[in-house]
């Protein structure tokens, strides 16, 4: 029989920690610190709007780019939060989660051989999406001593004649790192100098615990070269609704809309109606959830301090990224033993790139009670490892 598979897809690296995943799925009684989604239910008034839209029979396709009212609300939101002006008719595309926007956005701008800069540790889909789009991914290894922020020098060093796109994944999954205004201003200079396009994945923007999130698109000269990606999953606890969006220059959004039309048709209609309600009346919910996350973040940082576990203070998303290098084992070894001996699942940093080696991603999308239990076990585990070393 002929080869039925695409060589390119077969060639995509599977997640480096597949073995670890297998053990997790077998261990039914383990507790978890491993999720990448909020523990809150979608606020009721948002769910109710989704239900109401179904009752009214809103069960048809929307326009390819998404409901006009939703695009208008997104533009209002961008203006309100970032001072950014977008044309709802030409510069916004509603997608199936932020993930689709990443995929479609890269495919819309890449020509064969273009290079895409991907800072890591970061979300797992940038690299395969870049490869599938025909680009050559170029990894920038972010450094713990910079608190995993991206520096101008790192961009400069990674740039070649072929570099076209920089992925900017902040607030960051898995490190929790943010880029403050001064950090963004420093890299914007290089970005403009090198004439790069930026794909700014701001899905965790609302979960910023130090000042307000700043979008790179709001810096002078940046909006016309930025594809801004956001969505409803993290801010409004709407992961299962699969709804995100991209804002950007009209000519890029037009090409993205074309791919989206052929591959997806339109984002789920029910979710779009619910999202309108989220943007109109969801600010209080976001603020309440953010307060709760921030309390848990402080709780974890204090716990690490007390057990003497090294961890820079992250100010974004809902992850902390403690360093486990003192125990002299790899992230995966540590995570596997932690799972087997204490029955707690946390994700090895290497799941997010080689530069995650020596770190562990701990999610605080859990109640304080759950965290207290898990952290108690971590404390016991850490003490045991230290005793072993002596």
């Amino acid at each position: 029989m002929r080869n039925m598979l695409s060589d390119q897809v077969v060639g995509l690296k599977p997640s480096g920690i597949r073995k670890f995943f297998d053990i997790v799925s077998e261990m039914k009684d383990a507790i978890s610190l491993g999720v990448g989604e909020p523990d809150f239910d979608t606020p009721w008034h948002i769910r109710d709007e989704g239900i109401y839209s179904l009752e009214k029979g809103k069960t048809f396709y929307t326009s390819n780019a998404g409901l006009k009212e939703l695009r208008e609300e997104i533009c209002n939101y961008m203006k309100r939060k970032n001072g950014l002006e977008y044309d709802p008719l030409k510069e916004v595309l509603i997608t199936v989660g932020g993930s689709e926007a990443i995929d479609v956005g890269l495919r819309a701008v890449i020509n064969p051989g273009d290079e895409v800069l991907i800072p890591q540790p970061s979300y797992v889909s940038y690299e395969p999406c870049a490869i599938l789009a025909g680009a050559k991914p170029v990894i920038i290894d972010l450094k713990a001593e910079n608190e995993f922020r991206l520096t101008a020098k790192e961009i400069e060093d990674a740039c070649t004649e072929k570099t076209k796109v920089l992925i900017l994944p902040f607030p960051n999954n898995p490190t929790g790192a943010i880029m403050e205004r001064k950090d963004l201003e420093a890299i914007a200079k290089v970005i403009i100098e090198k004439d790069l396009l930026v794909m700014s994945d701001e899905i965790y923007a609302e979960l910023t615990y130090k000042g307000e999130h700043v979008s790179i698109a709001s810096l002078p000269g940046m909006q016309e070269r930025t594809i801004l990606i956001n969505g409803f999953s993290k801010a409004y606890a709407m992961t299962g609704w699969r709804l995100g969006y991209a804002c950007g220059p009209a000519e890029i959004i037009a090409q993205m809309t074309k791919i989206h039309q052929f591959a997806i048709m339109c984002a789920p209609t029910t979710s779009q109606y619910a999202a309108i309600e989220a943007l109109k009346n969801g600010d209080n919910d976001v603020a309440e959830m953010k307060t709760a996350y921030n309390q848990r973040r402080r709780f974890l940082m204090n716990a690490f301090k007390e057990m003497g576990l090294e961890c820079f203070e992250p100010f974004g998303a809902f992850y902390v990224f403690p360093c486990i290098k003192e125990f002299g084992m790899t992230s995966e070894e540590f995570a596997t033993r932690f799972l087997e001996e204490e029955k707690v699942a946390a994700v090895p940093g290497t799941a997010f790139g080689n530069s995650g080696e020596g770190f562990l991603r701990i999610s605080y999308a859990y109640s304080i009670d759950n965290l207290r239990e898990a952290i108690g076990r971590l404390d016991r585990f850490v003490k045991k490892l230290r005793a072993e070393k002596k």
Binding site: E37, N173, F299
Partner: protein, 160 residues
């Protein structure tokens, strides 16, 4: 920190003070002082416990009573409310806008006990014009707490 502190202990008044300080990002001594202040200002009025009595063997009957009254010259509704809330069986008294004036929440051991409160004590007060008593059949949610057990964590244990 005041509002955030109140929001936390409104949900969990038994939280450890040290932990409370940690999650608020302040020193423990500041929490202790702030709580003392809130108590003396009458903002924190107690540290009660939510109990779902239906699950105990103790029989309790609750009722909402709508009351129309004649307001008192110079005192409005306050003196009437005071006469009513002094009864220990009265749980809560609210002055409302709309079709009636006072809403009373009462809890008794039996229907008879509630009935006798309404007929003997409440309706015989001067200035009470009328009452309407609604017995509570089931409590679903009180003080922001849903009595039904919450669903378990249905998320995948690892998602990247």
């Amino acid at each position: 920190m005041r509002e955030e502190l109140l929001a936390v202990i409104e949900k969990n008044s038994r939280i450890d003070l040290k932990e409370l300080a940690v999650i608020l990002g302040v020193e423990e001594i500041d929490v202790v002082n702030e709580m003392a202040k809130l108590e003396s200002e009458g903002i924190i009025c107690g540290y009660h416990t939510m109990i779902n009595w239906e699950k105990t063997s103790l029989e309790k009957v609750g009722a909402l009573i709508e009351v129309k009254v004649t307001p008192q010259r110079g005192q409005g509704f306050d003196s009437m409310a005071e006469r009513i809330y002094k009864y220990p069986e009265v749980d809560a008294v609210y002055l409302l806008s709309g079709g009636y004036d006072l809403l009373i929440i009462i809890e008794g051991k039996t229907i008879k006990e509630v009935a006798s409160f309404v007929s003997d004590k409440l309706s015989t007060l001067d200035n009470v014009l009328s009452t309407a008593t609604h017995f509570i059949l089931k409590k679903y949610k009180e003080h922001g707490t849903i009595f039904k057990k919450e669903h378990a964590d249905e998320r995948e244990r690892i998602t990247l």
